[in-house]
Symmetry: C2
Subunit: 518 residues, 2 copies
């Protein structure tokens, strides 16, 4: 397939565009409009569409992603060494709140097959989760989970999996220091994820800093309200447990009761509005903002129109779009909350001697993303066009909040920390776009992976769930791809397995702890 | 067994002592010396041996562990509410270096059966380790490890285990921020642990911040020097890997080569000086400093006399003994390095709004430890009496350093972070004392667990490897117990399995990353 030279321009005012062709283009190649490449440019990297003088702005997405360090001729490669990075927008001069945009028209009639929970949430999977207060118990818990999976799970065909909520927190940490509330509430809310059906168990040690009562205050765990508290908590240092085998037996016995109840649950038809979809990107390239992320953005609008909740996150990846986000806030309070979370993160990074520019990776740059500004502009398109209805601080939960629709869930951009915080927020479905390729998966929730390029989708044929690269080649429109993703999400929510579920690919839960360890 | 009331005093100048009896003692009980308890006191908690006026020092270990807040009568319970905590010793007024203490007499003739490595280190186990640059690859690695364990390992009876070095680092982190060198060198040195025999494999993704060349610069991994580099590294984004099953196959094939070589290794008689023993305590109680830790301290002296290296750690647990430690430094440079590490940690905690007092846990306090000063005095006795020959900053490695013998390996006190850093330092044997009880274990190295109380040793009969509680009941002397531990260590180093190995109880590796996540 020897496709003609093709570039992709995002916005009429842009003075750079992206080389679309697989394998890049050699010096001397001529585009249909007559521009000739002065040097070879890899796929996904930028060419100058016109001469750009030193000191002039380089525009992509209609946004200034950098300032030319030197004169750049039309047809030249616009790479990171030729750009100065602009400062982040000041948080003091942001628009407080624009007039509210017209709400998107409602989209009715869409539903999926889900598990209704007593607290009003809906699960897309039926999982027994065993939470833990502290890493000390992880060894025992791992052995117990293996036994439960091998010996009990086959007896309960309606239960999808047994999952340990293990983590590095709980002791050896400054549990009263500023910021410690974040990992604690994250762990608490993880246990309340809709996919666990209110049947979570808790294994604690006994002497740890994070005592069970602090992790799950009375009433916070639905099962406790049902009067079955003794069946859902187990403390290894309890004198009743005469050694390891006794502990193991006790955990397995408790699991039995929970599995019995979970096994009686059945999927029911529920409206699409019960979805809480977390969107994230990882291993991004210049195509992320061209194909997969815009398709996700289109789908985000569909989900919001259908009454669902969509979480977009990753503070350092949207920091450079602070002004755009605040302008989309549904109220001055929401704009203020966006500012608050960004200011908090600015201060957190500064305290550690870093700033938002620490975000970009070698792979981003190889993929054509020159800096965090360009990456951010490609990242926020996942959020679509709806107004932003609310903000969650790290570890906060959707359920119980007034706002639904499009929410900014402030999290670090680390795939695993972001995923863990979105799970804690109540995510029951996860969309993950990738350009370089990552085999990301979570045990607690289905992850649907979208490739930004067809080459990746073909190479990783048994890992990528959707190929958005077809937008770049013209085989599918952005709208087609957005609808395709929307329908696929409803299927996955109803039980269709993603590739990461098929192979059992699960990444670790990683808590965000901005406080010191001791 | 109705034992007579018994208290344990640590030092002739102490004005408090510890209630030794199981279950504690009731008000009105009279000790042999005539002191009568004014109130009921739990086991491990302190009674006043004489009247202590408000403002007077409360002494245990001959050290001021607190100041009486109120008048305390002889026979009263000296609990945390009745004590003010003293300030930490100032790092500016520490002894620079006392005259060097007389070296302990050499102990010759002790050996164990170990695996000699090309770099001069000696393994106590023969393990295939697969390291990773980033959490992104963990899902694939987990599935691969399961397959290798099930399908390959049984064919290689001389290989003890296959272990993934998984972690939350590698991307989504401020990799150039101050402190980032700590997790990076920790990961690098973990791969060089003596128990991996220089046969470590590395699985990377491709686009992550922590590139393989940065994790393991050329020459740092012995296997690379042997010209077999292509057999020990694998990058998932490499175009050669057409999907998940291809990745899996590639990892399994590489593992095959490494297992073949590891399987040819045999144990040889090596001197006890090849041991690098990490000592740690977790879930401490007031007996930790009375029984298990002093026994470990005695054994530490034996090990140092036999030429072995002993690492003691946990900065916040020795901070209050800064003056004692500096006085034991073998040179002014070592004293300076102790001060440097403590000052660094003070600043790290302060930046996060915490101090050393964040160390103690609810379990410590229930176990009778009033504050970090008392805990610290009980903790440092693990280090015995030898002079301190050197200091390792977090993540540094013993091998290649001049100093052997007793080393202060500066680490957080978190059991898992400390254990991970001791593994990175080159630990091939781990001693862990516990009073409240923890089922701690590491996949990379045998962990020998010592109970501080016989009640715990009996209750957790299939988890505790040694009962040091027999010191409190008079059934064994401290010296007996120290020698018993020394011999047991040589047996475990030679292949005898500990309880945590028997059950396969493994805690997570947890990296110490003082820098921000992005």
């Amino acid at each position: 397939m020897n496709a003609p030279p093709l570039y992709l321009r995002m916005h009429p005012s842009d003075n750079v565009a992206i080389v679309a062709n697989d394998g890049g283009l050699a010096a001397g190649m001529r585009f249909a409009d007559g521009i000739v490449l002065l040097e070879s440019i890899p796929q996904g990297h930028k060419l100058a569409l016109q001469a750009i003088a030193a000191g002039q702005a380089v525009l992509r997405y209609g946004v200034r992603i950098g300032i030319a360090k030197e004169d750049i001729a039309a047809g030249a490669w616009v790479h990171e060494q030729r750009l100065l990075m602009p400062d982040a927008p000041s948080l003091d001069t942001l628009p407080t709140c624009q007039p509210i945009t017209t709400p998107l028209p409602a989209l009715t009639g869409y539903s999926f097959q889900g598990y209704r929970n007593a607290d009003g949430t809906v699960g897309t999977r039926n999982i027994l989760a065993i939470s833990s207060t502290v890493q000390c118990v992880a060894g025992v818990l791992d052995v117990a989970i293996q036994r439960i999976k091998t010996e009990l799970l086959p007896m309960y065909p309606q239960v999808d999996d047994v999952v340990a909520l293990e983590h590095a927190y709980g002791c050896g940490v400054a549990i009263d220091a500023p910021g410690a509330e974040i990992p604690i509430r994250t762990l608490r809310h993880l246990a309340l994820n809709p996919n666990f059906g209110g049947e979570v168990m808790l294994v604690s040690l006994g002497c740890e800093k994070l005592q069970p009562e602090r992790l799950l205050p009375p009433g916070s765990l639905p099962i406790q309200a049902m009067g079955a508290e003794s069946k859902s908590q187990l403390r290894l240092q309890d004198p009743a447990h005469q050694g390891f085998q006794a502990m193991l037996q006790a955990i397995i016995e408790q699991a039995h009761h929970h599995l019995q109840r979970l096994n009686q649950r059945r999927r029911e038809t529920v409206p699409a509005s019960a979805l809480i979809v977390g969107v994230q990107c990882g291993g991004s390239d210049a195509f992320s903002g061209l194909t997969a992320n815009p398709a996700v953005g289109f789908c985000t609008d569909l989900l919001v129109r259908a009454g669902a909740t969509v979480l977009f996150s990753e503070v350092t990846e949207v920091r450079d779009a602070a002004d755009q986000l605040c302008a989309r806030a549904s109220s001055p309070e929401v704009a203020q909350a966006i500012r608050r979370e960004m200011a908090w993160y600015d201060a957190y990074l500064q305290r550690g001697g870093a700033d938002r520019s620490a975000n970009t990776t070698p792979g981003n740059k190889q993929g054509g993303l020159s800096n965090i500004v360009e990456k951010a502009m490609g990242s926020i398109v996942k959020s679509g066009t709806a107004s932003i209805a609310g903000v969650l601080a790290p570890g906060e939960r959707v359920h119980g909040q007034a706002a639904r629709g499009l929410l900014f869930a402030a999290t670090p951009a680390s795939d695993f920390i972001c995923g863990t915080l979105q799970l804690a927020a109540g995510m029951n479905l996860h969309v993950f776009t990738t350009g370089r390729g990552t085999p990301y998966g979570l045990a607690a929730c289905p992850v649907l992976k979208v490739a930004t390029r067809s080459e990746l989708a073909q190479r990783w044929h048994d890992l990528m769930d959707l190929d958005a690269g077809r937008i770049a080649t013209g085989e599918a429109s952005l709208e087609d791809m957005g609808w395709q993703l929307f329908h696929l999400l409803l299927d996955v929510a109803s039980g269709k397995r993603t590739w990461s579920e098929h192979w059992g690919l699960h990444n670790a839960l990683v808590l965000f702890n901005p406080a010191p360890v001791t």
